[in-house]
């Protein structure tokens, strides 16, 4: 009697599983290798880079970049704290706003539901454009040279609102709210004690998306932080260093010697790579905390609407 392996109906054959594993493994390697390379470069000595360029096996290892960065560049610490502060405050505020807005849209008894759905959806298709946004933020809202300028512009994301509303719709039955009302629960108590606990996976997903958006954002700083550089988040600092080097190299033809003299002052390759490591590591550490919710979160995205 031959042993026959039983597959459940959605399991692939061994061959295709092997192929899939190879493909996925190759893909993971492609994702991880550049990052490992960056770490290696950040720990290479400057002399080694001058001699043989970037290499997986540098001639000499060194931690001098990190000690230099932390001792000599106080702005890195400051920026690091800025990034954490902006991400923390921004994530809490934007997630709260998103959840509340989405909850209102989810309640069928909310009279202006259609209008507010359209109101947020409309901005997904037609955005104001850079300059009008800049003018409103700066001249009307006075978002300039302060933390608010880095937090407020990213506060509301219509996409997240729609995802969140769909999540409420699919996972929180309306009967539950009715039941709560009958039991004498007020609106706020229903929201906090009944709806939010059920919606945790959705909220966690939105929180992760928001945290990533805040952590990775440098553009708001580019627009609104130009005098008070102490407020720069880490990403903006890195972008600035990188842009400076690129710009000077590109402009050497027009600017002549000035570009060359200036580019000699630019930070070293290792310093830039060390900054990348500083940026990636904290957010990579945050992933596992959110991970168990992400799968649930991803499936809501697929039935949005």
């Amino acid at each position: 009697m031959t042993m026959k392996k039983h597959y459940s109906f959605n399991t692939a054959s061994i061959e295709s599983r092997i192929i899939m594993h190879i493909v996925l493994f190759a893909f993971s390697v492609c994702c991880i290798i550049p990052f490992i390379f960056v770490i290696i470069i950040s720990f290479s000595s400057e002399a080694s880079i001058k001699e043989i360029g970037y290499s997986f096996i540098p001639l000499e290892w060194s931690t001098s970049t990190y000690s230099y960065a932390f001792e000599k560049l106080p702005q890195i610490w400051r920026s690091f704290l800025n990034s954490i502060y902006i991400t923390a405050v921004g994530t809490i505020l934007s997630t709260a706003m998103c959840a509340l807005y989405a909850y209102a849209l989810y309640r069928p008894d909310f009279k202006y539901r259609k209008f507010f759905t359209f109101f947020s959806f409309f901005t997904m298709i037609f955005s104001g454009g850079l300059v009008p946004t800049y003018m409103i933020s700066k001249q009307v809202l006075h978002l300039s040279e302060n933390y608010a300028a880095l937090i407020v512009p990213l506060l509301v994301s219509p996409f997240n609102i729609i995802v969140m509303r769909t999540f409420f719709k699919t996972s929180v039955p309306l009967e539950l709210i009715e039941a709560a009302t009958i039991d004498g629960s007020g609106e706020y108590s229903t929201l906090c004690r009944v709806v939010l606990p059920i919606a945790k996976p959705g909220i966690a997903t939105i929180a992760l998306l928001n945290a990533l958006a805040y952590w990775n954002d440098w553009f708001q700083a580019l627009l609104y932080i130009r005098q008070n550089k102490a407020l720069q988040p880490l990403q903006a600092l890195l972008m600035e260093l990188q842009n400076n080097v690129d710009y000077l190299n590109r402009m050497a033809g027009q600017m002549g010697t000035a570009a060359i003299m200036e580019s000699m002052r630019a930070p070293t390759h290792t310093l830039r790579m060390a900054l990348v490591v500083l940026i990636v590591v904290p957010i990579a550490c945050a992933y596992p905390f959110f991970q168990r919710y992400i799968v649930a979160g991803l499936t809501i995205g697929s039935v949005k609407g």
């Binding site: 009279k111 202006y112 009008p132 580019l222 260093l241 400076n244 690129d246 710009y247 033809g253 002549g256």
Partner: protein, 537 residues
């Protein structure tokens, strides 16, 4: 209650929409070609009625945007405290600097200008994104012709007429001066950047070689490269080029200011020894000339011999490679557009004996004349005070030193002979881009430069001859379609041809044909028409 509340919210939202509607207008203006925004018009009017009469000036805060600086907020605060105390007595101005950085300046400034920020003075020039001529045409800068004699007479005198001539452009309010040009390295001279240390190693008499000059097409030039290649091995590439600069210096062609067709397609050939000599030349499509063909062939020949690194021939890696190779001194001959005294700085930084061998005499044209300027924004509420400040900045050594070098005892110390020495740990936190600030010639010399540096500096630049077409600026707005098409073709071919990556015999005819179908002749004819008009008047 609920109803009222929702009505209120709806009202707020409608109002927000209206506000959005209004702000769209200036945005459209800034990207388009039309002139003033309504906002700037109002400001210009109020500016006209305000006149600074009498000795008692109202206190005014001026925001000034610099390019490419490395300044920390703490250092800036310290310097500004001293500067503003000095300025208060002089013109009752408080200066609030915005220290631009190299990489982010373009995007920030363009957004701020389009958004009508309350910045009084902007850095501008002909190579940054807020290009002087274009932004003057679009009505962003205050026209200074009438204000200058009244509010900045000293400034008017200290800057030579030739440079004022270059600052004249066809702006929104007609031909005139829309920005104060910086009195800096106001001439262009293309030099061979020679690694003297390596040349001596190869057995050459460095002084003799440099005194004689280098000829790109000569056998000696080739032999030098060959010897270096043999001595240093196959991985060493003796000829370190920036293709566009190499082409300009070898063929003695100049950039036409205002040619925005991507590359510098339009060219004017000048006499290498006496740039001001009128050769009867016109503006030409430089790729169609014999000079260019000869140059491209020679460069291709050198590349085939292995004298030019493949990294130099790849647009993606060329800039990075050149900068790092230059800084580590791994070359024999390079290209450099010269700035007075730069060989000293380079020798020090690269740890080799850097020699600059002139290929052409220094010449002055608007490309160098418009290299760094300060324009007063139409959004400025106090344009005349801004001009008074620019006047002081360019004529009062104290103000210039404050802004450029910082405060004595903090960023520098003064020596007995009048020179200064920097205090490195503070200077590195306060380093504006010297040439971008204004009249650098009134700065105190540093110890390394020597006491008479600025005298020699001025003598060098004042001796520069003006090209025959003088202050001509090409207005390409009539040929924007052609310019865009040409820019595409240029991006596809020119770099490869100039870096010796492709065989000109095979590729050049194809390139020329494509340029022609892109409308190069229209562009050249228009440029020559404008030039004739300019010279005729």
């Amino acid at each position: 209650m609920k109803r009222i509340l929702s009505l209120l919210i709806a009202l707020v939202m409608v109002l927000t929409f209206c506000a959005c509607g209004n702000t769209e207008k200036p945005a459209a203006d800034s990207s388009g070609t039309t002139g003033n925004t309504s906002g700037t018009n109002n400001n210009a009017n109020t500016a006209g009625t305000q006149t600074a009469s009498g000795n008692t000036l109202e206190p005014v805060t001026l925001k000034m945007w610099f390019h490419g600086s490395t300044v920390t907020p703490e250092a800036s605060e310290k310097v500004m405290a001293e500067l503003n105390a000095y300025l208060k007595d002089k013109i009752n101005v408080t200066l609030v600097p915005i220290w631009g950085t190299w990489g982010d300046f373009d995007q920030r400034v363009v957004t701020a200008l389009a958004g009508g920020d309350d910045v009084d003075i902007y850095f501008t020039c002909n190579w940054s994104a807020n290009e002087y001529n274009k932004y003057a045409r679009d009505g962003y800068w205050v026209k200074l012709d009438d204000l200058l004699p009244k509010y900045a007479p000293e400034l008017l005198n200290i800057i030579p007429g030739g440079i004022w001539e270059c600052a004249k452009t066809n702006g929104s309010e007609g031909m005139g001066i829309y920005a104060v040009p910086g009195l800096k390295d106001t001439a262009t001279q293309n030099c061979w950047d020679v690694n003297g240390t390596l040349l001596a190693e190869l057995g050459y008499d460095v002084d003799a070689v440099c005194a004689k000059g280098l000829d790109y097409y000569s056998d000696e030039f080739e032999e030098m490269l060959r010897k270096a290649k043999e001595a240093k091995g196959a991985d060493f590439y003796p000829l370190l080029i920036e293709p566009a600069v190499l082409e300009r210096m070898v063929t003695h062609s100049s950039i036409i200011t205002g040619d925005l067709s991507g590359g510098n397609v339009l060219s004017f050939y000048y006499d290498a020894e006496h740039p001001s000599k009128d050769l009867g030349n016109k503006i030409v499509n430089k790729y169609a000339t014999e000079e260019f063909k000869k140059f491209a062939k020679r460069t291709y020949y050198y590349a085939q011999k292995g004298f030019i690194s493949p990294s130099c021939q790849n647009v993606a890696t060329a800039n990075d490679y050149r900068t790092s190779t230059q800084n580590s001194g791994q070359y024999l001959i390079g290209t450099q557009s010269y700035a007075f005294g730069c060989e000293l700085d380079f020798s020090k930084a690269r740890g080799i004996d850097v020699r600059m061998v002139p290929e052409t005499a220094p010449y002055m044209d608007c490309t160098s004349g418009q290299g760094a300027m300060m324009a007063i924004s139409k959004t400025s509420k106090n344009p005349e005070r801004a001009l008074m400040f620019l006047n002081l900045l360019n004529t009062d050594p104290k103000v210039m030193t404050y802004v450029n070098y910082g405060v004595e005892g903090f960023t520098y110390t003064t020596n007995n002979d009048g020179t200064i020495s920097f205090i490195p740990e503070n200077r590195q936190n306060y380093s504006p881009w010297t040439n971008g600030v204004g009249n650098v010639r009134i700065l105190p010399p540093t110890k390394e430069q020597g006491p008479d540096f600025w005298t020699r500096f001025a003598a060098y630049y004042n001796s520069a001859e003006t090209l025959p077409y003088g202050g001509f600026i090409f207005d390409s707005s009539k040929c924007e379609t052609e310019a865009a098409a040409i820019a595409n073709v240029y991006a596809q071919y020119a770099f490869n041809l100039m870096s010796g990556a492709v065989d000109p015999d095979a590729v050049l005819p194809e390139f020329l044909q494509k340029l022609e179908s892109a409308g190069i002749n229209t562009l050249v004819n228009e440029a020559n028409r404008q030039l004739a008009e300019y010279l005729g008047k």
